[in-house]
């Protein structure tokens, strides 16, 4: 494809779009499909066909519109409908030229929508992820074109560095710095890897990105490859995400067919190919060295760093690994400039962050909010607060590596530093809200069980330490624990954190540490109850006259 072809394709696709009088967008991501939105899409299409409106009404499947709890969501022109079923199809088609269907209306003026800031997800819910043409109509590959035709790799890296973008996988390493390191690493053969091994309980941000706007991820990877001097990309996706795999595969094939990836892209000397590797659902493979081992066909185990993948990664070559969301941030930064990106957010955390809201809140789903927003605003405003008149207890961020933040700390802002200071982490964006009915020891036990079963088993502190911490949490929760057990648990937390080989083990104690920090009384309550019965037994033993050497 030549540069001018992309522009003409975009213009033609836009003109084609405008030829329609009406647009009906149906969410076709995993969440809504589980409520049969695929059938709904087909029914709507058939309805339009039966009425002979195919020239006037465009019906298409799109990515996630956010409010997953009220799915399937359908957008008919500017009207958003919720909880739509197939039988509503005629009414929706009717409404196009008359009044909206009242009972299905979803208020787009509620804070859930108005307080979001869509940058990464700007096209999610607008484009058909299975149509390259539709994506191009919405501006896909414009950033790649700009980069390849008017920027040097150094300029690209500088732009990313200036934007202040930090890794969205959890640790928040400055992206520009990472790219610069890989670019500087000696070697002619380099790789870029997209980490789509999203495994935190309650997290589905990356899945949504891959299902809803796969070309944006590809575009980000291609720009990264150009910047660091790589020709080959690998997308590592867990096999549990079949729809994401299907759409990514389709996106890669379509992009190939139109020479948006492959040889001499846009007539330049830049070559870039991408392949997909499936993970078998091991949480540890989200750790970069384990991910690389898995891509190489080995057992997915982490290894000591250094050497870092930036110098010696996939097959020993310099390798850039970024998270799905990080790559999805690249195109808007290039298109709109680093300065406009850097305006959003806080001093050290720029841009927006996608969160998957789950748990005891009214609005569950996906949101994209500017960094620096208060946790309180997310939970009470965007998420609509706690249902059933119950009281908020804690919000868990960062998955099994993160921690629980209590009610009196909800004024903190969402940025890498504040969350770390509060004993949690930003993580990849899972946010689980708990109400007063949750016991925090049980919560810690749940996450520890996850870490225990997901530990790869390579290093002793993580392999046995997570087992022992889980065992001690079990004892305490089941009212068999003692203060000694609690002390041992605390000692173990410190040891496993300090001595484990990789991030999984080093962060596995976090849910325990943060619940101990804010909810230690819940541990002590359970221990006190256990001790009361223990004391009874001891009192009995002291006074009892039992003949020890004779069996009764």
């Amino acid at each position: 494809m030549k540069p001018e072809e992309l522009t003409s394709m975009m213009e033609k696709a836009r003109a084609d779009m405008q030829a329609f009088d009406h647009h009906i967008n149906v969410c076709t991501e995993s969440g809504c499909i589980s409520l049969q939105s695929d059938l709904l899409l087909k029914t709507l299409g058939d309805e339009v066909k039966h009425r002979g409106l195919t020239e006037k009404v465009c019906v298409k499947g799109v990515g996630c519109m956010g409010l997953c709890c009220n799915g399937p969501l359908v957008k008919a022109n500017t009207t958003l409908y919720q909880n739509v079923k197939s039988e509503h199809a005629p009414a929706i088609v009717d409404s196009l030229s008359s009044q909206p269907v009242q009972e299905l209306l979803c208020d787009t003026q509620q804070p859930f929508f108005t307080r979001q800031k869509l940058i990464v997800r700007e096209n999610s819910g607008r484009v058909d992820p299975e149509s390259l043409i539709d994506c191009i109509a919405h501006g896909a590959y414009q950033a790649l074109l700009k980069v390849l035709t008017s920027m040097t790799p150094q300029q690209v890296i500088q732009e990313i560095a200036d934007s202040g973008l930090r890794g969205r996988g959890g640790a928040g390493f400055p992206t520009g710095l990472k790219w610069a390191t890989v670019a500087k690493a000696p070697g002619t053969r380099k790789y870029v890897i997209c980490n789509g091994d999203e495994g935190d309980p309650g997290a589905f941000m990356d899945r949504s990105m891959m299902e809803g706007d796969p070309h944006r991820v590809l575009e980000g990877m291609a720009i990264a490859a150009y910047a660091v001097g790589a020709q080959q990309g690998v997308i590592y996706v867990r096999a549990e995400y079949p729809l994401a795999v299907k759409r990514l595969t389709k996106a890669i094939n379509m992009a190939h067919r139109h020479d948006l990836i492959g040889h001499n892209i846009f007539g330049t000397k830049f070559d870039f190919n991408v392949e997909i590797r499936l993970g078998a659902g091991a949480f540890v493979c989200g750790e970069e060295t384990a991910l690389i081992a898995s891509v190489e066909g080995k057992r997915g185990l982490p290894r000591p760093r250094p050497p870092y993948p930036a110098n010696s990664g996939l097959f020993g070559c310099p390798t850039l690994i970024n998270n799905v969301e990080t790559y999805a941030n690249i195109a808007p930064i290039i298109n709109n400039g680093a300065a406009s990106f850097a305006q959003i957010g806080t001093e050290k955390s720029k841009g927006t962050k996608i969160f998957a809201l789950t748990g005891k809140i009214k609005n569950t789903g996906l949101i994209e909010v500017p960094m620096g927003i208060r946790l309180k605003d997310i939970i009470y405003d965007i998420a609509g607060g706690i249902p059933d008149g119950r009281a908020f207890k804690a919000v868990q961020t960062g998955g099994p590596s993160g921690g629980c933040i209590p009610a009196d700390m909800l004024d903190i802002t969402v940025d890498y530093e504040s969350l770390t200071k509060a004993g949690s982490i930003m993580g990849s964006g899972g946010m689980i809200v708990m109400d007063e009915t949750s016991n925090m020891v049980d919560v810690a036990r749940f996450f520890m069980e996850f870490c225990m079963t997901e530990s790869c088993g390579k290093c002793v502190p993580c392999r046995v330490g997570t087992y022992e911490m889980h065992e001690l949490l079990d004892r305490i929760y089941e009212k068999r624990g003692t203060l000694d057990d609690l002390q041992l648990l605390k000692d173990l937390c410190g040891m496993v954190k300090q001595t484990s080989l990789c991030g999984l083990g080093q962060s596995a104690p976090n849910p325990v540490l943060s619940t101990l920090r804010y909810f230690e009384h819940e541990y002590l309550d359970l221990i006190n109850q256990a001790q009361a019965s223990e004391a009874d037994r001891n009192a009995a033993a002291k006074g009892e006259s039992i003949k020890l050497e004779v069996l009764s």
């Binding site: 091991a282 540890v284 057992r299 290894r303 000591p304 225990m452 079963t453 997901e454 530990s455 790869c456 088993g457 390579k458 290093c459 002793v460 502190p461 392999r463 046995v464 330490g465 997570t466 087992y467 022992e468 065992e471 001690l472 004892r475 041992l488 000692d491 173990l492 040891m495 300090q498 001595t499 484990s500 080989l501």
Partner: protein, 242 residues
């Protein structure tokens, strides 16, 4: 490999307040041992690739917030290393205690009693009891091989056997299956050892095993003694011949 090819450049560093010079590319562990500074290890073995799994060789390096595995960390100019702070000693104790709690290590009835690196480590680290709840897993003994025996009860998953089999013997009969505490050493596609078509019965795995997990058949309590001298000779011979 353990001692990476050194470029010959000389560097100086401090280990436990002792000024030491070494060649660039050498690991902290190698340099410490050359200088009679003992850093405990269980998964490390001279002549095999670095594994970094037992975490006993963790040391403090000034300026680094994280503890570093001495077996996998290369010395750098001006490095200041502490190998045995109270914190490190405590962590090491806990790690070895966890190994005892993980599987069924019954020293008194073990063929390696008195010649066991895990047992020796407990003595060295003054471990007189295990603070952690024991796991008591139900594990098998693979008695199918005609010359050797694999007792999973005594395995600490150091993977020395896996590495010696793959890297030195070249057979790669052994590997690891499963995750977390359920991980276990397997032969070929998880079949009885005696039915393995790739095992050459060379016996190297038995000799590198630090505990009584891999033993010769027909040994009784305390009779199994490992010979590990062969490994440095073997690697040395290979290096000189190539």
């Amino acid at each position: 490999m353990t001692s990476a090819v050194s470029s010959g450049e000389s560097i100086t560093l401090k280990i436990d307040d002792k000024d030491i010079s070494c060649r660039s590319g050498e690991t902290i562990l190698a340099v410490a041992r050359e200088n009679n500074i003992d850093i405990p290890t269980l998964c490390f073995m001279e002549g095999l690739s670095v594994w970094g799994g037992c975490r006993l060789c963790l040391v403090e390096v000034a300026g680094s917030p994280k503890l570093q595995a001495a077996c996998a960390t290369v010395c750098t100019e001006g490095m200041n290393v502490v190998t045995a702070s109270p914190r490190l000693k405590e962590y090491r104790k806990m790690i070895v205690e966890m190994l005892f709690a993980e599987r069924n290590h019954v020293c008194s009835v073990c063929v390696s009693n008195g010649h066991c690196e895990l047992q020796d480590m407990a003595v060295k680290l003054e471990i007189d009891h295990v603070r952690f709840p024991y796991r008591y897993p139900h594990l098998q003994v693979d008695n199918s091989h005609d010359r050797a025996r694999m007792d999973h009860n005594r395995c600490i998953l150091c993977t020395r056997c896996v590495r010696v089999c793959a890297e030195i013997e070249g057979a790669h009969t052994k590997d690891v299956k499963g995750r977390g505490v359920l991980a276990a050493i397997i032969h070929d596609l998880d079949q009885p050892w005696g039915e393995s078509e790739t095992c050459t019965s060379c016996g190297k795995c038995v000799n590198v095993c630090p505990t009584g997990a891999l033993t010769h058949r027909g040994t009784a309590v305390g009779e199994m003694q490992k010979k590990t001298d062969f490994l440095p000779y073997l690697t040395l011979m290979r290096r000189t011949e190539s």
